[in-house]
Subunit: 257 residues, 2 copies
């Protein structure tokens, strides 16, 4: 993905996409996903890591509730990554991330991720370009480790919202009593850095795309959720998973209790 | 360290080394180490990872007791890596290792390590050469991650014993009532694979020496412990650590209670 320009990529659903039909299609995909996740868990060979990145109010929480919330929670884990704790700061930046890598059979969703260490930290100049470069290399190595050594399939989604949609959603949080709990004064300060964030995201896409990013137009939640669910469904389907058969009885097996 | 031949490297103390003088020297080094570890903890900038590898009965436990046991346990952690649990097997081989990477200010000792995954597993052909190669690359990346992203200094020691010394020590465990708890029938079977293990170790030295290995002649415990203590001392000394000064009082600081 060389030299992506986010400003040239639409944040809205394609014009030909019909909202009601897309919602119906999503429902069908969610049914499929429920089965596929059960199969993933039963087969116990692969695992899935879903990385959700995006600006504040880009709709990451909504994806978790609406796409992953319909599956059996026994096989789905969600881990948010907020500002690191003191203990986390005393380790390399991938230490806290690696602990939450998915076990075989599991779907792990990252609400933000190791990419924050080359986004917010660069926007605020807490690290220089040289360190960012080293982190890119470390991230690529880490993702390769999960792929090659635990059969982990990684899906990375960038939830692409316009500055206008972001601003409207942040303001909604100051008005809607059901959303006020999400209000954070700092989000408005960060939103002013929208363009710098976009630049840093573009640099991430350039340097960490061995496991490819999917850029998800996210101004319309219904389209965003459809696209992500579809990608997850297609990935799981491509694994050609099978339910394990009963093991052959051993010669000395007790056949009656 | 290209093409090391372990059979050509002595397992005994050099002839000129005097046992009593070496033991006296070790005592002095241990005093220094106690101070250096306190400084490492206080400065809170670096961390030290000590990897102990070697055949069964090569004396890893003794090093931990005699070299690291004299330091303040607040700043020293020991982690043994035995056969992986079911949960560990459901993750990449570095998952359980990374969790025990040292925090800033700490000394972490690994009693066996991620290297078992390219030793015992190769000796028994549980993985093929292609997977071993991938693991070498992953290990090199992992060690680089700790160095570059958490200021971790890594010391890797191979405790080099002769097949004869190993056999004598294993047999001692069948006779000495204070050592019988270490007896494991399987150790005798593994000891028969001595030469294969040596070959796999040589391959490790060839492929994972970006962080260099120290080969420690280990037939004589007094020499082995001296050499390891000296290497740890020299490494900590080279860090030029300093005690942090009192922070400057803030303008609005309360100077009286």
């Amino acid at each position: 993905m060389p030299q992506i320009k986010l400003s040239e990529i639409s944040t809205t659903a394609p014009k030909k996409a019909d909202k009601e039909k897309t919602k119906e299609a999503l429902k069908e995909i969610l049914d499929e996903l429920d089965d596929l996740q059960n199969l993933l868990y039963a087969e116990h060979k692969h695992s899935l890591l879903v990385v959700l990145q995006g600006m504040d109010a880009s709709g990451k929480d909504g994806v978790i509730r609406d796409v992953f919330g319909t599956m059996n929670p026994m096989g789905v884990m969600v881990q948010p990554f907020k500002a690191p704790t003191t203990l986390e700061m005393d380790h390399d930046f991938l230490w806290r991330i690696h602990q939450h890598a998915p076990a075989k059979g599991m779907i792990q969703v990252f609400n933000r991720s190791h990419y924050e260490d080359v986004l917010v930290q660069r926007v605020h100049k807490w690290i220089d370009d040289d360190m960012a470069k080293k982190r890119f290399a470390a991230i690529n190595g880490f993702e390769q480790l999960l792929q090659e050594h635990n059969n982990t399939h990684i899906l990375k989604f960038y939830l692409h919202v316009s500055a206008g949609a972001q601003q409207a959603r942040l303001e909604e949080r100051t008005q809607d009593p059901r959303k006020m709990w999400k209000y954070n004064e700092k989000d408005f300060t960060e939103a002013k850095l929208f363009k710098t964030y976009q630049k840093m995201y573009e640099d991430v896409f350039r340097n960490c795309n061995k496991v490819p990013w999917t850029i998800v137009p996210s101004d319309h939640n219904w389209y965003k959720e459809f696209l992500i669910a579809q990608t997850v469904r297609d990935t799981l389907k491509s694994l050609k998973m099978k339910f394990p058969k009963l093991p052959k009885p051993k010669n000395n097996a007790v056949t009656k209790a």
